[in-house]
């Protein structure tokens, strides 16, 4: 999604790791300070996933300084390295590997200068917590003593050599999260806690339905001197105190008249809509082979409705316009991309906009973070000199954030009499999975389509598979099969704005692939584990599958009325981390997932506890998504705009989760954030089939949808 999205770099420059290739100066990435501290400046941002801790570990290790000496500077334009978007489980690969190389190079540069000054050969100098030591123990200097020497004012050298894995001391350990103390002591840390002098509070009064046009706002009293701002169908209230804006928004909503119309497909006919809507078709991959007459055939269509992000903290932004510069504080995943689209929407030059990242609540993809930044900027422009904070309501968050698009995945597989695959055909239908800002001609920010001088809403896209893909992510089965065809059909009508949500198309594709594998195993009378293992050429896929099966006691799993076991495996994006899951479910008045066993392989594990936390968190979120979640709507409006209408898993229903990591210190590290979702969902679906003998074709896995499948 990030650098990968831009395709291979062929700029004639010597190849540097990760984002260092396109942000080559060392002083962009790090700086030493005389008081004994190091600032590192990643372009990737904290989303609640713990990435900044992992990046600090990598930097401290290569520099040979204590982790406590590292300070992370939050990303901000224009000085931070442009690392595009923090997404796609790529931060360790792109930012981590850039920092590892940059820090190794910084260390090399400092040691060579000390060697020149002292005559002690560089290779004989040891670094101990930032001090440079001669073989006899003499201190020859330190990063801190040489902090002002401008030694990093140059491009990174391709020659720098990071430490061999055996010499790593900090990367590979479970360092505690740097951001967690603030969060358990209630210290101001989130963008929601940002308080600037003279700051105003605004709320947006959203249309009652999609495509509604504002006709009139009746005048009337408002609390605390609240004012109303209107720009086309963009309607906001602004007050000095937050609760006045809150109360005023409700009143103004009642006084507004909108012209409404039907723009959404019927909720009950979403699958038919996906089949009939205009589409742009392409072939993802194709391999011809002589296929013998099949002994077994499985043909199935898997449908999933729209899904919401459901962050617990609503999107928030602060903006200040001084007549020349728009300064924006945002929890965006991509500050430079946001700046690009703010410039388009505000019709300002990009260099008159500053975007500073401040942490938000958990982010699982392209949610309302970018949209609310435009909202704040629009209000700030009308209040020059005063910072304006906009907080979305829960209804804004669940009703107007981009959603993960509804999907239909049709699979047709053939196998011989032994159940060995001979042909696989998979067709993926959905809206594009990326409507992120900064990439197209028109801004993708929500309110850009509502202001008087409005922009059209650009159709979301699917990045190419080489960049991770969108709807087609993980649509290519990992199993050995002679004949293969994978097709992608992007729906070209986008009544509901769709974009990237954790895992993108992988969630439905892995569910489809792993369900079909189970069905085929059953037809051939083979155990699902053995059936997969003999179709997998990839040893690391086999390893995680085998490990998860052993963790769960797969071979001796009990067969009990009303409960079931299922397993699944996937390598995220086909190029990322491996994960296998075994699920145990109970089929009572509805389905409960009781236990999950996850085995994963992320190559070098930079922070094992952080990886386990991500794997488990992803699995629990996936359990919630597949058992409970579906965006509800009528033909005009999204109606699941409160938690009671968009329920997610609560404490009483959360499964036990065990995670094991197959550590491979010699292998390149891979992001851990998204790998467990697809396998978890597929394992739960397979466990339901084991318990009930019913193959689910409709998401979520509710009693209604189970009844449809029976």
């Amino acid at each position: 999604m990030n650098l990968a999205f831009k395709g291979p770099m062929d700029d004639g420059k010597p190849k540097l790791p990760g984002s260092l290739h396109v942000n080559r100066r060392l002083d962009t990435w790090l700086a030493f300070h005389a008081e004994g501290l190091v600032t590192i400046r990643p372009g990737k941002v904290e989303l609640g996933q713990g990435i900044l801790t992992a990046l600090a570990q990598i930097g401290a290790d290569e520099l040979d300084v204590a982790l406590a000496r590292i300070r992370i500077q939050p990303a901000a334009t224009p000085d931070s390295p442009d690392e595009a978007v923090t997404s796609g489980s790529l931060s360790v690969q792109e930012s981590g590997m850039a920092l590892r190389h940059a820090c190794a190079d910084a260390r090399r540069i400092f040691l060579s200068v000390v060697a020149q000054r002292t005559g002690v050969p560089a290779e004989e100098i040891a670094v101990r917590d930032g001090d440079f030591l001669a073989p006899d123990g003499r201190v020859l200097g330190s990063y801190w003593a040489m902090a002002d020497d401008a030694l990093l004012a140059e491009e990174a050298s391709p020659e720098a050599k990071p430490k061999p894995p055996t010499e790593r001391r900090i990367a590979g350990g479970s360092a505690p999260r740097l951001d967690l103390p603030d969060k358990v002591f209630g210290a101001p840390r989130y963008i929601h806690d940002l308080r600037l002098p003279g700051m105003l509070h605004a709320r947006i009064v959203r249309p009652p339905s999609r495509g509604a046009v504002l006709r009139e706002v009746r005048e009337g009293a408002l609390p605390g001197g609240t004012t109303v701002l209107r720009d086309g169908s963009f309607l906001a209230v602004v007050a000095a105190q937050e609760h006045h804006a809150e109360a005023a928004a409700e009143r103004v909503a009642r006084r507004a008249t909108w012209e409404e119309r039907d723009t959404l497909p019927d909720e009950g006919a979403l699958e038919a809509w996906l089949r009939s809507a205009p589409r742009e078709s392409s072939v993802v991959t194709e391999r011809q082979a002589e296929a013998p007459a099949p002994a077994h055939r499985v043909s199935a269509a898997f449908f999933r409705p729209f899904l919401a992000h459901g962050s617990i903290g609503p999107s928030c932004a602060v903006a200040r316009w001084d007549g020349a510069t728009m300064e924006v504080w945002s929890h965006s995943q991509g500050i430079y991309n946001l700046r690009t689209d703010l410039a388009k929407a505000l019709r300002l030059p990009p260099d008159s906009i500053l975007v500073r990242h401040v942490e938000g609540a958990g982010c699982y993809g392209h949610n309302g973070a970018d949209d609310v930044a435009l909202d704040a900027a629009l209000v700030a422009r009308a209040h020059p000199g005063q910072p304006v904070r906009v907080l979305w309501s829960r209804a804004d968050e669940l009703g107007w954030s981009p959603f993960s698009p509804a999907m239909l995945v049709e699979v047709e597989v053939e196998a011989d009499a032994q159940g060995t695959l001979t042909a696989w055909k998979q067709e993926v239908v959905s809206n594009g999975h990326s409507g992120r800002p900064g990439r197209g001609k028109e801004p993708t920010l929500l309110s850009a389509s509502m202001i008087a001088d409005r922009f059209p809403v650009p159709l979301s896209i699917n990045p190419p598979l080489a960049g991770g893909g969108g709807a087609q992510r993980n649509a290519v089965p990992p199993y050995r099969v002679p004949a293969l065809h994978v097709g992608l059909h992007r729906v070209m009508d986008m009544p509901i704005r769709s974009s990237a949500l954790r895992g993108l198309g992988a969630l439905v594709n892995v569910w489809a692939i792993e369900s079909v594998m189970d069905e085929l195993a059953a037809l051939a009378g083979e155990d699902p584990l053995a059936h997969r293992l003999r179709h997998l050429d990839d040893a690391r896929s086999r390893d995680v599958l085998d490990r998860a099966a052993r963790m769960a006691g797969w071979a001796s799993r009990p067969k009990q009325e009303g409960s079931g076991y299922g397993l699944a495996v996937s390598r995220y994006k086909g190029t990322g981390a491996w994960c296998a899951a075994v699920a145990e479910i109970e089929a009572a008045e509805r389905i409960f997932c009781r236990q999950l066993w996850l085995a994963c392989d992320v190559g070098e594990a930079i922070n094992p506890d952080g990886i386990a936390n991500q794997m488990e968190g992803g699995a629990i979120q996936a359990t919630s998504m597949c058992l409970l979640e579906s965006v509800r709507h009528d033909t005009r409006a999204v109606t699941s705009d409160a938690w009671e209408r968009y329920p997610i898993l609560r404490f009483s229903e959360v499964p036990q989760v065990q995670v094991e990591i197959i550590d491979r210190p010699e292998a390149p590290p891979l992001g851990a954030g998204e790998a467990s979702l697809g396998p978890t969902i597929a394992a739960i679906a397979n466990a339901i089939a084991d318990a009930l003998g019913v193959r689910l074709r409709h998401w979520p896995f509710t009693p209604d949808n189970i009844a449809k499948a029976a």
């Binding site: 951001d179 603030d182 101001p188 937050e242 617990i312 699995a619 979120q621 404490f651």
Partner: protein, 155 residues
């Protein structure tokens, strides 16, 4: 007319209307960050604080309901130098991801442990049922509350 109550042990009388939400008083004139807005509808638990020791949703409760009572927030639970056993356990077990839900969860857990010093896991789950966590840190949170209970139990 300001409503007077005690906040984390200190008397306060925030300059805000009696019918404003308690959360607005805490985050506004009282300057706290721990209590958080999540939904404004008592459905997620991010705003939970203790009122005379019992968990309440601060997002919908009028300030007037706190008159003369004790309000406790996560800021009053402990500090980095003197953490509450719950805060220590949450840090020891890294029980959180984005952390946005934690203030409310810590307060509900503190109330539980005062009422039931050695809860079962089922009791902790029940006490935390009003609280949403989207990151999936639930099991770590459950373990951390049980760990804190152990730490607080008389030797």
């Amino acid at each position: 007319m300001s409503v007077a109550f005690t906040l984390n042990g200190a008397p306060v009388a925030p300059d805000i209307e009696d019918d404003a939400p308690l959360l607005a008083a805490l985050r506004g004139p009282l300057g706290l960050s721990g209590p958080r807005f999540g939904c404004g509808a008592e459905q997620c638990g991010a705003c939970v604080v203790l009122l005379d020791g019992a968990p309440v949703f601060a997002c919908n409760l009028p300030v007037s309901a706190a008159a003369g009572k004790r309000v406790e927030t996560v800021e009053g639970l402990g500090t980095p130098d003197a953490p509450h056993p719950l805060q220590r356990a949450f840090l020891d077990l890294q029980a959180g991801q984005c952390g946005y839900c934690l203030s409310g969860i810590l307060m509900a857990s503190a109330a539980l442990l005062r009422r039931v010093p050695r809860p079962t896991e089922a009791q902790v789950r029940e006490a935390l049922e009003p609280h949403l966590c989207r990151c999936g840190a639930h099991n770590r949170i459950l373990r951390a509350v049980l760990r804190a209970a152990e730490d607080m139990a008389p030797a």
